[in-house]
């Protein structure tokens, strides 16, 4: 059972006692009449062949408060697209599958490209952005929820808890981020534990108590891929298409809304999904690529808030980070010991070394080109360039799903 301590400048909604899922879902059904919910699922076809997606589909079939489900399917042939549609046909809620590799969606990307609107490379960021566009084009949902499709331990309670704070008009949050523990026989979530938290706290030591850093540090799992938001955010938010997606999205939420309208919610007691390899020697792969992208996103956001970065500051940052990260390892070792979890201290130290190198690499990239971090333009910007783009997108998806 969770404690009830409130951390930081945003609201934390804990899992206290044994909240009834039936009550939660019946309230959601009522509230969703005024605030219809659209669920976005960025998925790869390979995820349908693993254990996660069949379970997610089976759970979603029991959910009655959703207005629409938009699944963005990546890396799938025409046949695989049809198989996916057939696979999801058991879900009562209206499901639309966006075929990212299809001819019509390809033409939408071409249209954006020739009008100098860069939407970046394929990935979760671009898929999520496209799905928001489709939901905006349909105009049938007021709230958008998003979760990954590789959650092996998925239950519909996760979705209900994620949606509740934004759908309930009495709470009136505009953005809600999910958090959970990533523990099996050992602690996972290395990037959050050993990179993000020590990095943010080191930056606070160097740049002072900056409000964005306080905001970021308030999240118990800032890198979780699960969130729920008001439709207005989908219209105005600019999101990175690379691994900086989660941090970049939080930065946009911070920029556009008061932290009082932002919350985080405990969505699952256990959460299990695929794990990335460290790839310490290759900055273009695995956790190293993720780490560099996350650091660049943080540096860029802080620079846009007026924080001045210099060679000296980055040198101090590496040293401060290393000290903080080493302290974190000791804390987690103690935590693992008391809970009887496996803990490989050497592996953790190796991860910290790799992350230190990644911070230096990200600093170099940032100093060379501070504007280099890619952001997908928000939908308002896209509409101003191509007024009919949402109508074209709606038609492309609807024709594909006929």
């Amino acid at each position: 059972m969770s404690d009830f301590f409130q951390t930081g400048i945003i609201t934390t909604l804990h899992a206290l006692g044994r909240p009834s899922l039936d009550r939660l879902e019946s309230e959601l059904r009522e509230y969703a009449q005024a605030r219809p919910v659209g669920l976005v699922l960025p998925a790869l076809y390979s995820e349908f062949e693993g254990p996660a997606m069949p379970k997610i589909a089976a759970e979603l079939a029991k959910v009655k408060y959703l207005n629409e489900i938009v699944l963005v399917l990546d890396k799938a042939s025409e046949k695989e697209f049809e198989r996916t549609r057939h696979f999801l046909s058991g879900i009562q809620t209206e499901v639309k599958v966006i075929h990212n590799d299809g001819r019509r969606i390809g033409e939408i990307y071409d249209t954006l490209d020739r009008n100098k609107l860069s939407v970046g490379q394929r990935g979760k960021g671009r898929s999520a952005w496209l799905a928001y566009g489709y939901i905006l084009a349909r105009g049938r949902s007021q709230v958008i929820a998003l979760h990954d499709c590789d959650i092996v331990s998925y239950s519909r309670e996760l979705l209900a808890r994620l949606c509740y704070p934004v759908v309930n008009p009495n709470l009136d949050y505009v953005f809600c981020k999910g958090f959970y523990s990533r523990v099996t026989n050992k602690m996972h979530g290395r990037v959050t534990r050993l990179l993000l938290t020590p990095l943010v706290r080191s930056l606070q030591q160097l740049a002072g108590p900056h409000r964005f850093l306080l905001f970021l540090d308030s999240f118990r799992y800032a890198l979780s891929g699960e969130f729920c938001m008001s439709i207005d955010l989908a219209r105005v938010n600019r999101i990175p298409w690379d691994w900086g997606l989660e941090v970049g999205s939080l930065a946009e939420v911070y920029r556009n809304y008061s932290p009082r309208r932002v919350c985080q919610v405990d969505i699952a007691a256990t959460y299990e999904h695929k794990h990335q390899a460290l790839s310490a020697g290759d900055p273009e792969k695995g956790l190293m690529k993720m780490t560099i992208d996350i650091c660049k996103s943080i540096f860029r956001t802080l620079a846009s808030e007026g924080v001045v970065f210099s060679e000296g500051m980055f040198k101090s940052l590496s040293v401060a980070y290393l000290r903080n990260a080493e302290d974190s390892i000791m804390k987690y070792e103690a935590d693992a010991a008391i809970n009887g979890l496996d803990f490989d201290r050497h592996e953790e130290a190796q991860a910290v070394d790799a992350f230190t190198a990644a911070i230096s690499q990200a600093a170099r990239v940032f100093m060379d080109n501070p504007l280099g971090t890619p952001l997908i333009p928000n939908w308002n910007r896209v509409i101003s360039a191509i007024p009919d783009i949402l109508e074209m997108l709606r038609r492309a998806v609807d024709e594909d799903n006929k």
Binding site: E107, D110, R114, D388
Partner: protein, 233 residues
Amino acid sequence: MNELLVLILEPLKALYAQMSAFLPNMLAMLIIILVGIATARIMSALTLKTLKAVKFDSWSDRMGVTSMMRKGDLWAKPSDATAAFLFWLLIVVAVLTGLSALHIRVVDSMIAEVLLYLPKIVSAILIVVIGYIVTGLIARGLLISLVNGGFRFAKQFARAARLLLIVLIAAMALEQLQVAPGVVVAAFSIVFGGIVFALAIAFGLAGVDTAKRMLEQQEEKKQETAARDMQHI
């Protein structure tokens, strides 16, 4: 025996004579079609290059032409579609010209009719494309001015205006194509007149008070202006 030989050879001679007269025409037709195909390819490629150079696709995206194509489930680039249209138009012209080289009376008259009809098809397409762009601009302008004027049903009004204009353009295009012109004109008059009549009745019955208020406000404004003018004198 001789007679039998004559009987066999005579039709063959006639066939040879006919073939000798027809073969040059056939050859001419083939050459015309082949040259036509080559010309169509060159023209289409040149058009495509020119359209790309002037950023025709981006212009089409902004003006709503691309959107119109997508509504018809046509997912090619506007420049590709235009070049392909030109290519097939030139191929049709080349084939028709080639067929006319055969000097067959029935074919000649059919070709004349088709060639006379081609400009009408082109102008109907132009009417639809230009009309669609203009309706988009009018509807957008109307929407902006109504929203700025605080009109409550601005979006619906702009959509209705666009729909009416599209009906008008469709009628014009069909009239240009001479597709049952009497029926088209009558149908358009009934539909357009009906809509306007319905709006007039709706406003007349439901909006009497609003109309009265508007007229009174206008009258008051006039009187106020007149009073101010008097004070200045």
